[in-house]
Symmetry: C2
Subunit: 478 residues, 2 copies
């Protein structure tokens, strides 16, 4: 009984301590376990299964649009990392250095990849000669290391799993198109697979990726109003191509530099799922990403025919949904709590009375709504329910995003909003770094992005009062 | 035209220089490209796609037998690596050491995992309390690093991709069963998916995994008669459990140590595919693992209706096979060579005459046999052809394995066979390390395994002449 007990121990309510609520869920839903290696976590089967589903979904989207997977070395020689000067300035301070191989001291130290632009560039320079070789649309699934000072499971860890896309194109236009295509792929994945609405936009120069000409981002809003940057797509122009000498003979026989992009999405989005959908009973998983979409909990399972019927249902459901039957001898109440903690979207209860009446009871995790469903309508009803849950999770998150977004026209209102209204704040910005830095220092807000959907909140900069045409979404961020 | 040329440049024939033949294929079939990082290669799209297919196949098998995927940290603290004394002696000399994180020098150095027993053990000790928690059947897909002195693509590289299964059980019997179950899973995968026959057996103590009580192996034979250890499965008994204090309360309320296994298979098997099936025109891929199973090469594609028909065929075939249409303006002959180099199992040719007669031409990569097939029988014929090719590749490899296996009853015959007969040699062994070492030194042969299928070649040890009941398969190995 001791083993079940953890599932019904209440977790810290999110209003009491949001950070603790988050930590309780990642542990009690058995998503992760801490390791002894500083800032690194263990992805347990349930947490990893969520990532596998995200991987499969995105990988299919990438391949549909002509991308191919490759695998680059995990280690980068220091001299290679240094080839693009902005890039090395951005990443060198946070890499792990390998100095010894076996018993020998290396003549040049190697860093564990924090990201793989430099490796891809070197490879591209070796395999590309003519316009016939373009574009190259590559993607890599791997883990990377960034030596973070403070870490939190999924949100910021020394090691994390991600995919990094790297593409090269004959023209700037094609590369720009690709950059936005992949940003939209991310936004669609969050909307259609994870039921998370995002704000799409461009990062300011201060916030862009080291070495990029432009960085685009999708920003999601957590329960507490804070932003989580959930995926980024970078346009590099020909900067890396020049640093790494990636040239091709174009149709006009001229040697030209390629134009490059990269884009990445990581296990961080699992943090977004938790903090966008979860509640005080635990995780709530959108059905499309849930490792278990339906859990069958038999009622009075010792009675004749109950377990047989439950197994029959499991078998039939398994042909169209990810289903689990819990026939253990825990009490149904314990089971209910366990699968609520784990965020299983639908619980199916079946007992002697249901069998008699040829029906089952379906209970939604998100609203706890119960429906009695005739056995022969089960497949249709379940599929409808999955879509209903998905849509209602998305709508709920969208309403929150909208309700928790305010506007500020001058610096005093901005500071007041930063203190009193958790969430995003729309305000105009003149484009000067000094204003962006002042807003960070005095209001504690960073620029999340310059959204594609612009509004004219005012005609002057919220900070300096000078003429401003750019609306920025500001916020506190993970 | 320059770009296509590489495909028809002959590769080094295997009889002339087997090592060069191998290197030519991995490069010209575009499986890998060398990187500037010593001993690390880049898996290009075609090479990585082969690995993805192997992954998908094995992952499904693992999950069918109740295994779950997890992800452990990539770095292991030195003190953790040292906990099991045989293990550290085996691995410490060949690991890469991280000594600095960002700008700080670490107080304890960390190695990049060469294998993850120690991490799994530490995790198991934290999550297992009672018999209810057992077994834990975990698997991890990742990359590992072993600081090798000499490297060859796929066969031995500083970094390689693999899966490592780690399981713990309540009893020794269950753990032993698991060890053999997974060895059989590997042997079946090689037979049924890669068309490669293997010899299954147990490693001698000298050749077993550092820290294991018993190591089981599948040994495949390459074209040149050398062995390639293609997958191993280890039984640890309770050795690691004692070193890491992994105990559970059993049904009888006694605290007991768990019994443990691990098993791994890596990108090395891609080397086996090349060296078992390839020929002097390049790679030959068994259909089940081939990224492209059928390539459509239109004949006289400028003629009306040819490309339309080719595209129609591509679309229809794509519903049941992995198909590619090459509609580029290269000449058919160039295309033939290219896809032969890449080992695509079936080439489908379609031209004006075929369209008129409502037929296509199928050409097998392995035998080059041509068949004319009516359009309406295409699906059936293609599927049959895939099975035929698979079976005939397997048979051919099996015949070679049998023909290139000899026997030796005394040391002189063993030495002579080692010099004159490439392949495996069956000989009796008394079990003494000194004999095993002498055979290595004087005949240049290592013990590949003690096969499950034993024969009585003689009743005395091939080396010392003392009484021997154990038959060993000896050979030269990659």
């Amino acid at each position: 009984m001791e083993k079940n007990k953890k599932f019904v121990e209440a977790i810290t309510p999110m209003d009491v301590d949001f950070a603790q609520w988050y930590t309780d869920i990642v542990k009690k839903a058995e998503l992760i376990e801490y390791s002894t290696v500083r800032g690194m976590v263990i992805l347990r089967p349930y947490g990893y299964a969520i990532w596998e589903n995200i991987q499969r979904y995105l990988d299919d989207r990438f391949k549909e649009t002509g991308h191919e997977n490759v695998y680059m070395p995990m280690l980068i020689p220091e001299s290679l990392l240094q080839k693009e000067k902005d890039h090395v300035v951005g990443f060198a301070p946070e890499v792990a250095w390998v100095t010894h191989g076996g018993e020998e001291k290396l003549t040049e130290r190697l860093c564990i990849r924090p990201t793989s632009e430099t490796l891809f560039c070197e490879h591209f320079s070796n395999i590309v000669q003519s316009y016939n070789d373009l574009p190259k649309l590559y993607n890599q699934w791997c883990s990377v290391i960034r030596w973070e000072k403070t870490t939190r499971p999924f949100l910021r860890t020394t090691e994390f799993l991600w995919q990094e896309g790297h593409t090269i194109h004959a023209t700037a236009e094609e590369a720009k198109e690709e950059t936005l295509r992949m940003l939209n792929t991310y936004a669609d994945a969050l909307k259609n697979f994870l039921a998370i609405p995002v704000v799409k936009g461009r990062k300011t120069d201060k916030e862009k990726f080291a070495g990029a000409e432009a960085t685009y981002t999708i920003e999601a809003m957590m329960h507490d109003g804070k932003a989580l940057q959930s995926g980024t797509s970078h346009y590099f122009g020909d900067g890396f191509a020049k640093a790494f000498d990636i040239k091709f003979a174009d149709k006009d026989s001229q040697l030209k530099y390629v134009h490059e992009t990269s884009w990445g999405l990581s296990t961080r989005v699992i943090g977004a799922i938790i903090m966008v959908h979860g509640d005080d009973s635990g995780l709530i998983l959108p059905p499309r990403v849930a490792p278990v979409q339906v859990v069958i909990v038999p009622v009075a399972q010792h009675k004749e025919g109950v377990l047989e019927k439950a197994e029959e249902l499991r078998k039939s459901i398994s042909s169209y949904a990810r289903v689990k039957l819990d026939a253990s001898d825990k009490k149904p109440g314990w089971k209910f709590s366990e699968y609520e903690m784990k965020g299983v979207p639908v619980r199916l209860e079946v007992g002697p009375k249901d069998i008699e009446q040829n029906q089952v009871v379906l209970v939604r995790r998100d609203t706890r709504e119960k429906t009695i469903v005739p056995m022969d309508e089960l497949e249709t009803k379940l599929k409808e329910l999955f879509d209903d849950i998905h849509n209602s999770l998305y709508e709920k998150a969208l309403v929150r995003l909208e309700n928790m977004t305010s506007e500020a026209a001058d610096f005093e209102s901005l500071k007041e909003a930063a203190e009193t209204k958790p969430g995003f704040i729309k305000a105009m910005w003149c484009g000067k770094l000094s204003c962006e830095e002042k807003i960070k220092e005095e209001a504690g807000l960073s620029s999340r992005c310059m959204p594609f959907e612009q509004e004219e909140i005012a005609d002057t900069c919220v900070c300096c009062g000078e003429k401003a045409e750019q609306m920025v979404v500001w916020g506190k961020a993970y």
